[in-house]
Amino acid sequence: MIVVTLPTHLRTLAKVSNPIELQVEEPVTQAAILDALEAIYPMLRGTIRDRVTKERRPFVRFFACGEDLSHESPDSAVPSEVMAGKQPFRIIGAMAGG
């Protein structure tokens, strides 16, 4: 199982509490995780990535294992510890000043 954490606003929108456990078919990529997440929680479509182009929204970040994966290809494999469910795939709202 893949473990996914959401920022507060998206937890409220999806009516869930952290963490979410997802069954994701291999190969486990960022895109595959988001596909599985949006299939179970359709209200999240469009909030993390564009509904059509699938591009990550500018102020959303993907962290895992202490690394920023936001600029990795959506089709790249996530770290093995995420695949093993030992570390969460963290979806983050970017910091904003002010």
Partner: protein
């Protein structure tokens, strides 16, 4: 006794304010959707417990919420606003052409007869319609056939912020866009034409009387006179008595004719309200005095309404969707400010009181009267 329900959208959530027809004691319910920008929350005339909400965020984009029980519970409905076909381009700040990009929903306008039918005005400017209660949206793309390559965003974005449905002709509606102008369809939204003749934007446009490009801030109509429209433009308060074919200025003795909202009294079609602010550079009331101006003659002759409103050191603004009226015998007038106050007058504007003082900046105010 009737219940009064005021639906308030703010920068940080939605609030529902409840009272009876006395409109003195209020219950404040909220925030709903805390932390999200609520550009508009509105009820459907055909089913007052059906509410629609435009919820958005710079981080997470656009959400549309629907309630069928007056806000006790909410359902997330469709947020897919795909422009019809190839979106095309509009004029950009540097004069180049820029592709149309959806940003947010500014205004939701439900049908007066069918609670599942609702229009959405969006940024970048376009009009969408849903006939399934907000689950799916379809663009009425004929609007962008009207010289849309010449439209360009103002400082607040290129938004379709006003939708007025004709009460006597289901095929007619009016929309307004910043900074493109006013438009009318007589064909149910399939074809449109600009209705900007008579507007003068000499300080903003190289051609003061251009067919499109005017920065219309809001339009209001009384349902008993569907051919009479009132407009608050960037500068100038305007009136048309032929459904927008020709406008004439009715700013008269206003201290400033710059402002955002305009409203019409529920029972007196010639009584209209504006909230002047100083200028395009100074978005706050003249002299630090918050004054609603009322004309009982459809414009030109205006009186300041000040009882109960701050008359010193007040530097808030009232945004275009943040003024509304109710339909009680003694017409109520409501407005919200960028300082987070929501004011009510239960006597057509003669006397005012704050319902709440300290909400986040108010983006929209709508009123429902429940039997």
């Amino acid at each position: 006794m009737s219940e009064v329900r005021v639906l308030v959208g703010t920068r940080k959530g939605a609030f529902v304010l409840r009272s009876n027809e006395q409109r003195k004691d209020w219950i404040v319910d909220g925030p709903h959707f805390p932390g999200w920008e609520i550009y508009h929350i509105t009820g459907t005339p055909a089913d007052p417990n059906r509410l629609y909400v435009s919820q958005s965020s710079g981080w997470f984009g656009q959400i549309i919420q629907r309630s069928d029980d007056a806000g006790k519970t909410w359902e997330t409905v469709g947020n897919q606003f795909d422009y019809d076909g190839v979106p095309g381009t509009h004029q950009w700040y540097d004069g180049s052409q820029h592709p149309w990009e959806f940003k947010r929903v500014w205004h939701l306008e439900p049908s007066p007869t069918n609670p599942d039918s609702v229009y959405a005005g969006v940024e970048d400017a376009a009009l969408f319609h849903s006939d399934d209660g907000g689950k799916t949206w379809r663009e009425l793309s004929g609007l962008r056939d009207v010289k849309a390559t010449l439209w360009q965003p103002g400082a607040g974005g290129m938004c379709l912020h006003t939708i007025v449905l004709s009460p006597d002709d289901p095929n007619r509606m009016f929309v307004a866009i910043s900074a493109a102008g006013a438009f009318r369809t007589d064909a149910g939204g399939t074809t449109w034409r600009p209705i900007n003749q008579g507007l003068n934007s000499g300080d903003e446009l190289p051609d003061a009387a251009a067919e499109v490009g005017h920065c219309v801030h809001s339009i209001a109509m009384h349902p008993s006179r569907p051919n009479t429209l009132f407009m608050q433009k960037h500068w100038d308060v305007m009136r048309s008595d032929n459904a927008g074919e020709l406008w004439h200025e009715v700013s008269g003795n206003l201290p400033s004719d710059f402002g955002f909202p305009i409203g019409v009294h529920a029972h007196e079609p010639d009584t209209i309200y504006v909230v002047p602010i100083t200028s395009d550079a100074h978005h706050f009331p003249p002299d630090g005095k918050l004054r609603v101006y009322r004309s009982r003659s459809g414009g030109n002759d205006w009186e300041a309404l000040t009882n109960g409103l701050p008359q010193r050191d007040c530097y808030v603004n009232v945004l275009r969707n943040a003024l509304s009226v109710d339909s009680l015998d003694s017409c109520g007038v409501y407005f919200g400010t960028t300082g987070g106050q929501v004011y009510v007058s239960a006597d057509s504007g003669d006397n005012w009181m704050p319902i709440v003082h300290d909400l986040p900046p108010v983006l929209s105010v709508e009123v429902q009267i429940l039997p």
